[in-house]
């Protein structure tokens, strides 16, 4: 029997999932029959007691757990949810992994798509506030403003204006804003 502890949108789910083998699960003491089918990468058909559910699922790129493969983004009934799902091993690993002090801090400004840098609004050493426009990227004929996800200090700028960048390229390296105050 496999046991999973689940948080949905940061609230503990009222059920621990126990997968009992082939097609049975228990949740909150109730037994269900289920089956599933991967329609495509990240597109899952789940059938619980004969009822169909189509869900879209991926590992949550914004998840901040130290343990891999425990945080997911799931679309159900046209609503999007963040779900964390951990088994006993994950919980153990989490206990031993050291606490990060810069919790929730997004380290670098990453390019979300291929494009060209139109304008850089910051210079190295600048302090930026959450929501400040740091860089303007042109892609698909539109100019897109890339904003700071949290307060930070500009550590290093790795691109220059007019430069083409790829998806997931690091554009600007950032440091947590607190360091400055020390």
């Amino acid at each position: 029997m496999k046991k999973y502890f689940v948080n949905i949108d940061n609230v503990p789910a009222p059920c621990e999932i126990n997968l009992d083998g082939a097609n049975a699960l228990t949740c909150g003491g109730i037994n269900y029959e289920y089956e599933y089918h991967f329609i495509s990468d990240g597109l899952l058909l789940v059938r619980i007691n004969g009822k169909n559910y189509n869900v879209k699922i991926e590992e949550n790129p914004e998840g901040n757990s130290e343990v891999k493969n425990t945080e997911f983004k799931i679309d159900l009934h046209s609503g999007s949810h963040t779900v964390s799902c951990k088994n006993e091993l994950d919980l153990l690993m989490e206990k031993f992994s050291k606490n990060k002090s810069d919790k929730g801090f997004k380290k670098d400004l990453i390019s979300p798509m291929p494009g060209a840098v139109v304008k850089i609004n910051v210079k190295e050493g600048d302090i930026v506030k959450k929501g400040d426009v740091m860089l303007v990227l042109e892609a698909m004929k539109m100019e897109n403003e890339l904003k700071a996800a949290s307060d930070a200090i500009v550590d290093k700028i790795l691109v220059s204006e007019k430069k083409s960048v790829d998806k997931n390229d690091i554009l600007i390296k950032l440091l947590p804003a607190e360091i400055q105050e020390v």
Binding site: Y4, V6, I8, D9, A13, P14, C15, I17, L19, L25, C27, Y32, Y36, F38, I39, S40, D41, G42, L43, L44, V46, I48, Y53, N54, V55, K56, I57, E58, E59, P61, N69, F72, I74, D75, L76, H77, S78, G79, S80, H81, V83, S84, C85, N87, P112, M113, P114, G115, V118, V136, E138, A139, M140, K141, M142, E143, N144, E145, K147, K167
Partner: protein, 501 residues
């Protein structure tokens, strides 16, 4: 009638034009960039010619290469679609100079209407109401500042050659003017190859209502009713519908006549769209004439039963309109939603990538115009629209319900789309009541959407928890040495594991 036409465009609109031409027994010629070699439209056309590199400036915006392909194919006419060269006077002229019929208005009409400043002068001269603003392109920031001061903020900067929201910026104070001007000019240059912009008074919270017109080469003009396009974000239309909930017979008559006056006064022929802003008191102001087929033209086709591409081809080949204004009958209710590759949860950033899976259920009353197939890639080179869904119902409610049904079962993997966002919009109280304007999405809907707390019932809790457990287990069962570097690979590996299990 033409024997063979070339479509100087790509994607869904090329598919759309080819389809009607085929039904009329006209041979079709596609042109393609390296990127589109095996795109749907290039496969279904009778002939297809390579015209260059993926960058539009080196293919679809290069008039010379298109004319060369046209000559090679021996076509009689070129349909420009929308975007690219469709509203470029020089291209219409190039076609004429090479003895090829341009399926659209004469070059001079594109020139005078395509420049919004000229268009405004024509409107004023023909008692079509306009909003105050500049009469010629802005030369520099100083001129922009003095003009904006004179007409009063907020002002709007607009690309002279623009459309589709590109090269447009609203400016609410002088401190924002310079950067907005630069951005508008940059966008205008990269999208239209022309960076001239002008400034006008910004009417707060107007509706955007446009009229479809058809004008033959014998001086006959009809309008095919309005399209309500107020559901916009950053001036990009999201949902269009016809009829507009605010329209009445008198207003429709007055706006329709104004649209026809604009066309006839400018020597316009073929299909066109006259755009208006309508304020809260139902005053309307002329905005611009789009001298081409619109993205949202299908809703008009559904409601009138008139094939606009067929009419374009008939008009361009010299035929008279076969019907009068009185013959045009309006039936039912049509809505269009644009499915785009973008991430509504991340500031609508365009999402690029390969469509790994695509499935939808259309059914009664649904039309889909698309040029995309499973396995295709949405790239940075072209716009992010994947598909247009057009729902037709006997009333507004039935059309909305059809649209919601299809969106719910519209499945795409490989990139992010706005289908959930569209569903949420269609379910919003203001949309259902028809109480929205061009600023509704940004002013009311998006802030609420971001704040929204989703409540989850026990059933959903169970489904979400189980789905996560299934997905996790599939990922965990991947052997260590095949451990993924990115989620795409993992998913693929896990899927394969599933198959072998």
């Amino acid at each position: 009638m033409f024997r063979k036409i070339l479509i100087a465009n790509r994607g869904e609109i090329a598919v759309r034009i080819i389809s009607t031409a085929k039904e009329m027994g006209i041979k079709t010629v596609a042109v393609y960039s390296d990127f589109d070699k095996y795109s749907l439209y290039a496969k279904i056309a009778d002939e297809a010619y390579h015209i260059g590199e993926p960058q539009a400036s080196k293919s679809y915006l290069d008039g010379e290469r298109i004319i060369t392909a046209a000559k090679k194919s021996g076509c009689d006419a070129i349909h420009p679609g929308y975007g690219f060269l469709s509203e470029r006077e020089f291209f219409a002229q190039m076609c004429a100079d090479n003895g090829i019929k341009f399926i659209g208005p004469p070059p001079a009409a594109i020139g005078s209407l395509g420049s919004k400043t000229h268009a405004k002068q024509i409107a004023v001269a023909n008692s079509v109401p306009v909003v105050p603003g500049t009469e010629s392109a802005i030369k520099d920031i100083d001129e922009a500042k003095s003009i904006s001061k004179k007409i009063g903020y907020p002002v709007m900067i607009k690309a002279s050659a623009g459309g589709g929201g590109k090269g447009m910026r609203v400016v609410r104070s002088e401190s924002d003017l310079e950067s907005a001007l630069r951005m508008a000019q940059n966008e205008a240059r990269s999208s239209f190859g022309d960076d001239s912009v002008f400034i006008e008074k910004y009417v707060d919270a107007p509706r955007h209502i446009e009229f479809q017109i058809l004008v033959d080469e014998h001086g006959n003009a009809v309008h095919l009713g309005e399209r309500e396009c107020s559901m916009q974000r950053r001036h990009q239309k999201i949902i269009e519908e016809t009829p507009s909930v605010i329209m009445d017979d008198d207003l429709r008559y007055r706006m329709g006549e104004a649209a026809k006056r604009m066309a006839l006064a400018s020597g316009y022929t073929n299909a066109g769209t006259c755009e208006f802003m309508v304020d809260k008191d139902k005053n309307f102001y002329f905005l611009e004439v789009n001298t081409r087929l619109q993205v949202e033209h299908p809703i008009t086709e559904m409601r009138t039963g008139i094939d606009l591409v067929e009419q374009q081809l008939r008009i361009a080949s010299g035929e008279k309109l076969s019907f009068t204004q009185d013959d045009v009958k309006f039936n039912g209710y049509a809505i269009e939603c644009r499915i785009c590759a973008e991430d509504p949860d991340n500031n609508f950033l365009p999402s690029t990538g390969k469509i790994r899976y695509l499935s939808r259920v259309l059914g009664n009353g649904m039309r889909e115009d698309t040029g995309i197939e499973q396995g295709n890639e949405i790239s940075i080179y072209y716009d992010s629209m994947i598909s247009k869904l057009i729902a037709y119902g006997h009333n507004r409610k039935s059309a909305i319900e059809k649209m919601k049904r299809v969106l719910k079962d519209y499945k795409i993997t490989g990139l992010k789309t706005n289908t959930n966002f569209l569903l949420e919009l269609l379910g919003a109280e203001e949309y259902i009541n028809g109480e929205y304007d061009t600023q509704y999405v940004e002013r009311t809907f998006l802030p609420r959407h971001l704040e929204k707390k989703v409540t989850i019932d026990n059933e959903s809790n169970l489904v979400l928890a189980l789905s996560a457990a299934i997905f996790k287990e599939a990922n965990d069962s991947v052997p260590e040495n095949e451990m993924k570097r990115n989620s795409k690979k993992t998913n693929w590996v896990s899927q394969r594991n599933n198959i072998f299990r």
